[in-house]
């Protein structure tokens, strides 16, 4: 018992100290009123983000977003070094997330016809893939070249989505596959070590939300279940319960199918927003908020194990996502209330 407590004491105390430095409610209020990257940057003074802000970040929203992500990546890298040996899947999760983010950047860059330098400039250092390798990926001129370059990495099965992408030029097929590779691999790995019950719970709920997001997005894009099935993670109880029926249902029908699950209420809330905005983001936000709520429950359930770590990671992700939303909103000339509405619930 003491061994379990001891192995997480340092990292848990450190992350609680980091939580003490989360952006306060008052500062969120001020941030919501910002109308330029420069104003946002000045309000970030005194926070952990400030040392990452360059001269360019003060003037360009894109650079400010990158600085925020760089801080996030550095925090996760720092924490990954403190994780006990027995909890190696958490370490992998923290590092490989950034590989997925960088690979998505390359895919979007190629899809959008960006220049090599522009893609290179958007990378966030922090994953397991070597930066020189990432740089080499920017040489890819087409998605086929990229998939060939990834042949010796865990992302080699992206080739399974290539035909559909080339047919439709819809990036959904590759992005969903990338997420599937990440979560499926993590799900397999997390089952091996003993303990880590909290992290397993977190991975399971993340896998379920991944599947739901994929299905919802496919429904919104009017894709058939045959198109969607290859991108779903099979080792998922929720999916197996939904499988016989979900193909026939529309969005409302799908939500009704989830009536006896924890996803029903949040998705119902998301549906009201969806009816107003027609944006699938309302569902994704509702599901992300549910993951945050579950992470909080996991944290409270076992305060000496990896629970607080999981709670912190999800909360930090939320803070970063809200900050990025503010940076993007500042360029759109939105008024304060609209910005506040566009944000997920603000944390104190």
């Amino acid at each position: 018992m003491i061994g379990d407590i001891l192995s997480y004491l340092h990292v848990n105390a450190k992350i609680m100290a980091k939580e003490g430095k989360f952006i306060s409610s008052r500062r969120w209020e001020d941030l919501c009123g910002c109308s330029s990257p420069g104003e946002i940057a000045s309000l970030l003074e005194g926070t952990d983000y400030f040392p990452y802000l360059s001269e360019r970040a003060i003037n360009e929203a894109g650079e400010l977003e990158k600085a925020i992500l760089e801080e996030f990546s550095e925090v996760e890298r720092e924490i990954s070094k403190l994780i006990p040996k027995g909890a190696w899947p958490i370490k992998e999760y923290l590092l490989r997330r950034w590989d997925v983010i960088n690979l998505r950047t390359v895919m979007r860059g190629i899809h959008g016809g960006l220049k090599k330098e522009e893609i290179l400039d958007s990378f966030i250092v922090g994953g397991e893939l070597d930066f020189a390798f990432l740089k080499a990926l920017t040489d890819a001129e087409a998605m086929d070249d990229l998939v060939t370059l990834l042949a010796r990495t865990p992302y080699r099965s992206l080739r399974d989505g290539l035909d559909k992408y080339n047919e439709s030029k819809n990036l959904f097929f590759l992005e969903a596959l990338l997420d599937k590779i990440f979560w499926e691999d993590l799900l397999l790995k997390v089952l091996r070590p003993r303990g880590l019950r909290e992290f397993k719970d977190f991975v399971r709920i993340s896998v379920e939300t991944h599947n739901l997001k994929t299905i919802l997005r496919a429904k919104d894009d009017r894709l058939s279940s045959e198109d969607t099935d290859p991108f779903l993670i099979r080792d998922c109880r929720l999916l197996n319960e939904l499988l016989p029926a979900y193909a026939e249902e529309d969005l409302s029908g799908l939500i009704n199918l989830l009536e006896d699950t924890i996803y029903f209420e949040p998705l119902l809330g998301g549906q009201h927003e969806y009816e107003k905005t027609s944006s699938i983001l309302s569902f994704e936000e509702a599901l992300d908020n549910l993951v945050l709520k579950k992470a909080e429950e996991i944290r409270k359930g076992r305060p000496f194990g990896p629970g607080p770590l999981i709670g912190f990671l999800v909360s930090k992700q939320k803070e970063v996502r809200n900050l990025l939303a503010i940076v993007r909103s500042s360029e759109l000339d939105l008024v304060r209330d609209e910005i506040r509405e566009s944000l997920s619930s603000l944390r104190s």
Binding site: I2, L6, N12, A13, M16, A17, E19, G20
Partner: protein, 161 residues
């Protein structure tokens, strides 16, 4: 032979009192120290509250030391000639030492509470008082243990005899 057995039992009592308390306090302070290092690495300004919380599990070590000194003075090993100690009195000293030693194991739990309290203080500095109160709760039983040992020592004339 009876004299020798009594004194040996009393010395074993003193050894248990100090030894177990030292181990327990060491573990407790260690637990708190590991967490404290985590907090300070993130926010060095929190050194003050962290130090106070880390010091709390040390008190059981002090009780153990006090119990051992009382036994050693009572049987004359410290501060005078070694007395003739009846075997019954030797057992009483041993019992007192065991009570202090075992009740000092609370230092381990106190270390864990202090470690948790440090995290809490790091996140919300205003919870420092509450963190101290929670950690001190574990101390109560070590104090009861010390009191019972003193009552044993007084009752059996190891103290004040």
């Amino acid at each position: 032979m009876e004299l020798a057995t009594g004194i040996v039992l009393a010395i074993i009592g003193a050894a248990i009192s100090m030894g177990v308390a030292a181990i327990s306090s060491g573990i407790g302070v260690g637990l708190a120290g590991v967490a404290g290092a985590g907090v300070i690495s993130e926010d060095p300004r929190k050194f003050g509250p962290v130090l106070v919380l880390q010091a709390l599990p040390q008190t059981q070590g002090i009780y153990g030391f006090l119990g051992a000194v009382l036994i050693l003075i009572g049987v004359g090993v410290l501060g005078g000639e070694v007395k003739e100690i009846p075997i019954g009195m030797g057992y009483a000293a041993l019992g007192g030492g065991i009570v202090i030693g075992l009740s000092s194991v609370t230092a381990i739990a106190q270390g864990a509470i202090s470690a948790s309290g440090m995290g809490s203080v790091a996140k919300r500095p205003e919870t420092f008082g509450q963190a101290i109160v929670l950690a001190v709760m574990a101390e109560t039983f070590a104090i009861f243990g010390l009191l019972i040992a003193i009552l044993i020592f007084v009752g059996t004339k190891i103290m004040g005899g």
